[in-house]
């Protein structure tokens, strides 16, 4: 009898120990890929770094060049996307948090927004293609910016909604009891309190679009030359990476690595920065 329970006990201990060790291995497995991918990008990227990267244009096959026009195109389209996506996103988030907390319409918007948040970005590219590119008759930086704005939008909506919901209701009541109209309360009291969170959301959105390739492939297309004309096709770093990495030319592949390095460093810096803002804010609140 005691022999049986003894054996059972030992078996349970064994199963427990085995599974807990396995869970540690799973975590190590996840970290392993992270380190490997980052290491590859850093090693190849630093090797491909050169001064001309930021001043020279993307080269034709076989010759030397840089990524200046692609970096500029990415900057322009990202700024455009933030300029379009952020105001609409903040307004929609405000509606969700301040006017439609438990209403069916608010729930529907929240539901749809969460789906947009994880929707395949290539689908948004197709949408903007039929909406903008088809109507204009040609690919353009403007279309690229709009496609990226559709990726910014749900991120900003979500964070604004969440951050405004965290603002204590006493603050609203205190301000309203002074006779301040609601729009002023929202703009001058609530936004001020939720600002760090909203800024974090915008930074996260920026991080997401700066590596985004799929929606740009057939909206902004690509351009071998420098352009600041929003109605013409525009180069971007991710699309150039895609084109050059798939090519058989070594000089192009090396430029692709340099681009990958720049994008990765930028994205990681943004995510560290947004974390720091959130953390500092949390500390000052406590």
């Amino acid at each position: 009898m005691s022999d049986v329970s003894d054996r059972l006990y030992r078996r349970r201990r064994l199963v427990n120990g085995f599974n807990l060790v396995a869970s540690g291995l799973c975590a190590a497995f996840g970290l392993f890929w992270l380190v490997w991918i980052l290491w590859t990008t850093l090693a190849h990227g630093i090797a491909a770094m050169k001064p001309g990267l930021f001043t020279q244009m993307t080269p034709p096959p076989g010759s030397d060049g840089g990524l200046a026009n692609a970096l500029f195109g990415s900057l322009v389209m990202s700024v455009l996307a933030i300029l379009i996506g952020t105001p609409i996103g903040i307004a929609a988030g405000t509606y969700l948090a301040e006017f439609a907390r438990k209403k069916p319409l608010g729930e529907a918007i929240r539901f749809v927004n969460d789906i947009l948040l994880s929707a395949p970005s290539i689908v948004l590219g197709l949408f903007v293609y039929t909406l903008v590119v088809r109507q204009m008759g040609h690919f353009s930086g403007l279309a690229g910016g709009i496609a990226l704005a559709l990726i910014v939008l749900p991120v900003v909506v979500r964070t604004t909604d969440e951050m405004l919901q965290l603002v204590p209701s006493q603050m609203r009541e205190a301000a309203l009891s002074l006779g301040i109209p609601q729009w002023k309360v929202t703009l001058q009291v609530l936004y001020r309190s939720a600002l760090p969170g909203i800024v974090t959301g915008i930074l996260l959105a920026l991080a997401r679009i700066s590596g985004e390739t799929a929606p740009l492939l057939f909206t902004a297309l690509n351009n071998q030359y420098w352009t600041h004309d929003l109605t013409s096709p525009m180069a971007s770093v991710p699309v150039v990476i895609f084109q050059y990495a798939m090519s058989p030319y070594e000089s192009w592949q090396s430029l692709a690595w340099a681009g990958a390095f720049v994008v990765t460093v930028f994205v990681l810096l943004l995510s560290v920065l947004s974390r720091a803002i959130l953390l500092r804010n949390k500390v000052s609140h406590d």
Partner: protein, 331 residues
């Protein structure tokens, strides 16, 4: 007498002023409300617009090929006949491989971060895993193409050929040329990409399990594993499934990483080691080269199918996740 009348008149002006300001504030508030509500509705319109525009763009393909579009394997740009089965198959198979790998690993990571790891280790490891989610998919693609594919081709594929390839039943899955690119490689890369999403959902919901419940189980002599398997997991079941669906939605729609390592081959093959295609990769590879309306329309129709599938999967995920929070709120 005169002073009273001025007081009265100044009071009346004050009241009139106040009324006017009130009216102005009400108007401004109404306007404000309409503006933000409009922005909210814009979000709804975006999603509906995306679906409708793709249905419209793909109508030519749907009308020309009929329902056969879904199960035809032909993809011939020269003769303008298109069928979606190969990309659909590739999308489903790669996502399935990704889930087979990612779900147990994510569960392990969540278990490690909530029950096993010492406290000082939890924050940094969780942050590092989430960093994995922040890396752009094109970086996964490049790493996959230049580092992972050669490794798969040189070591993993031959090994699979020699060992699993001769097994009955699953043998055909693992026999094929040692190219390195293919469904299996794409599935593994996808798995790495969705692990952070699934594990962070699991970790968050595991933390919502009431301590009382876990302590009761411990008091009865349960081991940590038994508490997680018999208490934590059943309590959070719906949200865990929601998290898995969220990862599945990501895996189905992922474009760039898959495009790099899948091989862009319109061929249906039983082997996981053969190159294939997925919906997203087909669109990314061929859209700008599509030289006829029916070609472009077929690609948009593919996009519409992808959109519908991911919409359903993500909607299910959301419903499952909401279920736990409602159950939490009811208490």
């Amino acid at each position: 007498m005169a002073s009273t009348s001025t007081t009265v008149s100044s009071m009346t002006t004050a009241i009139v002023d106040a009324n006017r300001r009130n009216a102005r504030d009400t108007r401004a508030d109404g306007l404000f409300r309409r503006v933000v509500a409009g922005a909210g509705v814009f979000v709804l319109i975006t999603l509906a617009g995306a679906a409708l525009s793709m249905l419209w763009g793909g109508r030519e393909a749907f009308l020309t090929f009929g329902p056969g579009f879904l199960w035809s394997t032909e993809w011939d740009a020269v003769n303008h006949t298109f069928g979606a089965l190969v990309p659909i198959y590739g999308t489903l198979v790669t996502a399935l491989i990704a889930m087979v790998i990612a779900v147990p690993v994510s569960f392990g990571i969540a278990l490690f971060l909530t029950e096993v790891a010492p406290n000082w280790l939890r924050g940094p490891v969780a942050a590092a895993i989430e960093l994995l989610a922040g890396i752009p998919s094109i970086i996964y693609g490049m790493w996959g193409l230049f580092v992972f594919v050669p490794l798969m081709g040189a070591h993993v594929t031959p090994w699979l050929n020699d060992h699993l390839g001769k097994w009955p039943l699953i043998g055909p899955l693992f026999s094929g040329p040692p190219l390195g690119i293919g469904m299996l490689t794409a599935g593994i890369v996808l798995a790495i990409m969705v692990i952070p999403f699934i594990s962070s959902v699991m970790r968050e919901v595991f933390l919502t399990v009431p301590t009382r419940l876990k302590e009761s189980a411990y008091a009865l002599g349960s081991t940590t594993w038994e508490v997680v398997w018999d208490i934590v997991l059943p309590y959070t079941r719906s949200a865990v499934i929601g998290g898995i669906f969220l990862g599945l939605g990501r895996a189905l729609g992922e474009t760039m990483a898959v495009t790099f390592v899948l091989g862009n081959a319109h061929r249906l093959s039983a082997s996981l080691l053969e190159p294939g295609n997925s919906i997203a990769a087909t669109i990314a590879n061929e859209f700008t080269e599509a030289d006829s309306d029916i070609y472009r329309s077929s690609l948009i129709a593919l996009g519409f199918l992808l959109f519908i599938v991911t919409f359903v999967v993500l909607a299910l995920a959301k419903l499952m996740l909401n279920r736990l929070s409602r159950q939490e709120g009811a208490k």
